[in-house]
Amino acid sequence: MTKTADILLSGLPKCPTGIHGLDEITLGGLPRGRPTLVCGSAGCGKTLLGMEFLVRGAIEFGEPGVCISFEETAEELASNVASLGFDLASLIAQKKLAIDHVYLDRSLIEETGEYDLEALFVRLGHAVDSIGAKRVLLDSVEALFAGLDNESVLRSELRRLFRWLKDRNLTAVVTGERGQATLSRHGLEEYISDCVILLDHQVTETVLTRRLRVVKYRGSTHGMNEYPFLIESDGISVLPVTSMYLTHVASNERVSTGIAALDTMFSGKGYYRGNSILVSGTSGTGKTSLTAHFVDAACARGERCVFFSFEESADQLIRNMQSIGIDLERWVKKGLLHFHAVRPTTFGLEMHLVKIHKIIDQIKPSIVVVDPVTGLLHAGTESETRSILLRLIDFLKEKQITAVFTTLTSGAIAQEQTEIDISSLVDAWLLLRDIESGGERNRGLYILKARGIAHSNQIREFLLTTHGVELREVYLGEAGLLTGSGRVAQEAKDASAAMLAGQEIERKQVLVQRKRMVLDAQIAALQLDLETDEQESQRVIAQEKLKIVKWERDRGEMARSRFAGEVPKEFANGAVKAPGLKGSGA
C-alpha cells in the first residue's frame, strides 16, 4: 500500500510504519531500533498513530508490538481503535500484540523514599519477551510526571528507559503532550533525539485540519513541511504535500481532446497523456461541456474516467450533456465512466483529497475531471486549496493520469488569473471567455499555454451545438473581433459588399460597352455625315465645275461668236471633261 523502504537515501535502517503517507515523508519509516517521540496537544491523534504503528507492524510487517498505556486500559484502547477496523483482541490472542495498562493514581500512592522505574522496565521487558515484540508504544509516558513527585528521578529513569529500548533494538513510539514552549510538556525531546514528530490540529473557518510535521530525524532526510493528515475509517492517512522530488515520467503519447478543431489547435494531435489541463472561464462559458468532450473521447478509446463534480449530480450532468449531443450514460453503463458528485462543503479539503485518492486507487482511471476545482475553496482557504491541488496534480502525474480541472473565474479579476492561482501548476490551460458585442454574449476559446506542444495563438469562437462543441474561426476585420451574430452579420455584409462590387464591375463593363456602342454609332453617324457632306461637296463641286464648264463654253461660244475662231488655249484641245465629273454618278 505504501512505497516503503525502497527509497533509503541513507544507510540508517528504517522501520516502516505502514501508515499511509508517513513512510513517504520519512523516506521509509521511523528509525529502526530507536525511540521516536510523537507529541501534540490533546486529541490530535498521538495514541492512534502509535496504535496504528503497532497494528500495521503486527499485520503487515510481522513485527509484534507492545503497548504500554499510561492513560487508557486495554479495553478502552481496543474500543477506540475498533472504529478503524483494528481488532486488538484477536491480535492479542494471536500473540501479535500485548497491551499493558499502567494505572497511576496519585491518591493511592505514597512516596516513602528513593525509588526507580525498574519495575516498569521489567514489566515492559516481560511483555516484549512474551510475544517477541519488535515495536513498542509508550502512551503517554508523561503521565508518570503527574503520578510521581520526584522529577529528577523520573528524568534519569526515562533517559535510562530510552537507552534500554535502544539496547534491546526496539523501535518505539513515545507519545508526549505538547508543552507551552517545548515540544512536549516535560521536555522529552531532550532524551529522544533521533526522531520527533509533531502533531497538531487547527480549525480554520470551522473546518478542522490535522497536521503532522517531522521536526527532526537524525541521520536521515525527511519531508520538512507540515503535512495534513486524516483519521479515517481505515486509519491515519498523511498526505505529503508534494512528492519530494519531481520525478514523474513524462509520456510522449498524444491523445485527442475529442474536438477535432481543438486538436488542430494543439498542433493537430491533442494533448500529452498525463497532462494536467486547466479549463478556466466565467460562469456559463461551457467549461463542463468542454470537459465532457475530453471524457467522451477517452471513454471512446476504452479508457476509464472519473468525474468529480462539485456542482452537479451525475444525472444532471448526463442530461445536460445529452442536450449537446454527448451521451455519457453509455459509458457509465459500460463501467468506464464514474461520477463522484459531492458538495464541497460536505467535508474538509483533506477529506476530499483522500476520497479522490481512494477512488483513483480503486478505479485506476486514465483521465480525471474535477469540476470545478474552485468548488474546493468552500472547504478551505485559498492556500490550503492550492496545496491540495498541488498534491492532487502530483499524485495524478505520478500515476500518468490526465487531469482536467475546470475553474471558475469571476468577472472581478483578470481572466488570465485563476482564482486559486494554480495556473503555474498545470501543463495546458484553455481559457474560455465571453466576448460581448452587438448586444449578445458569445464564447471564445484560446489556448493560453500548453507545455511542450506547439499550439495555436488564435481565439476561436466556441459554439455549443446539438452535436457538441464546435470551434469557429472568429471574424477579424476592421471592426475588430466579431463573434456570434456580429460575426454572421459582418460575414453577410462582406458577402453583399463583395456581390455589390461584382455587380458594379459588371455594370461598369456594360456601361463601357454601351458607351462604346454609342460612340461607335456616333462615329458611324459622323462618318455617314462626313460621307454625306463629302458627296454633297462633290456634287456642289461638280455642279460648280459644270457651271464653270458651261460658263467657259458659254464664254467661248460668246467669244467665238464675237471673235470667230479665236479659241482660248485651254479650251482648244477639247478638254471639255472636268475631273470633278468622274464620280458624279454617286
Binding site: V102, Y103, I109, E111, T112, G113, Y115, A119, V122, L148
Partner: protein, 118 residues
C-alpha cells in the same frame, strides 16, 4: 508461586485488623535490602502479630507487575485492609509509611483515621 513469607503470626488482638502486605523489590540491590529492612522494622513495631508480608523479586516474577500495577521499585502494596494503597520508595520515611499504611492519621486528609490503627 514462590513467595518469601517473612512473618505470618496471627493477630494478637481479636478485633485488630490484619495487614496483608506485599513488597516488590529488584533482587538484592542495596535499595531493595533497605526497603526490606525498613518495612520489617515498621511491621514489628506497629503491626506485630497481625500482618503478612510477602517480598517478591520482580525479576523472578515479572508477571505480577501487571496484575498489581507495579511500575516503580521498591513498591509496598497494602492489600488489606482496604483501600489498597501503594507505598513507593525504600520506605525510609517512616512517617509517610505509617500514614500510607493508615497506622497514623493523615494530617491533611478529610478521611477519618482508621479506627483500628494504633
Amino acid at each position: 508461586m514462590k513467595r518469601v513469607r517473612v512473618d505470618g503470626k496471627t493477630a494478637a488482638k481479636p478485633d485488630a485488623v490484619h495487614y496483608q502486605l506485599r513488597l516488590f523489590v529488584t533482587g538484592t540491590t542495596p535499595r531493595s535490602a533497605r526497603a526490606i529492612q525498613n518495612i520489617r522494622a515498621i511491621c514489628e513495631e506497629y503491626l506485630q502479630g497481625r500482618y503478612d508480608l510477602e517480598v517478591i523479586d520482580i525479576y523472578q516474577y515479572p508477571e505480577h507487575l501487571k496484575a498489581e500495577q507495579i511500575f516503580v521499585t521498591p513498591t509496598l502494596v497494602k492489600r488489606l485492609p482496604l483501600p489498597v494503597r501503594k507505598l513507593i520508595g525504600d520506605l525510609s520515611d517512616t512517617g509517610r509509611v505509617l500514614i500510607g499504611l493508615d497506622i497514623e492519621p493523615r494530617q491533611l486528609s478529610a478521611k477519618p483515621p482508621n479506627e483500628h490503627a494504633a
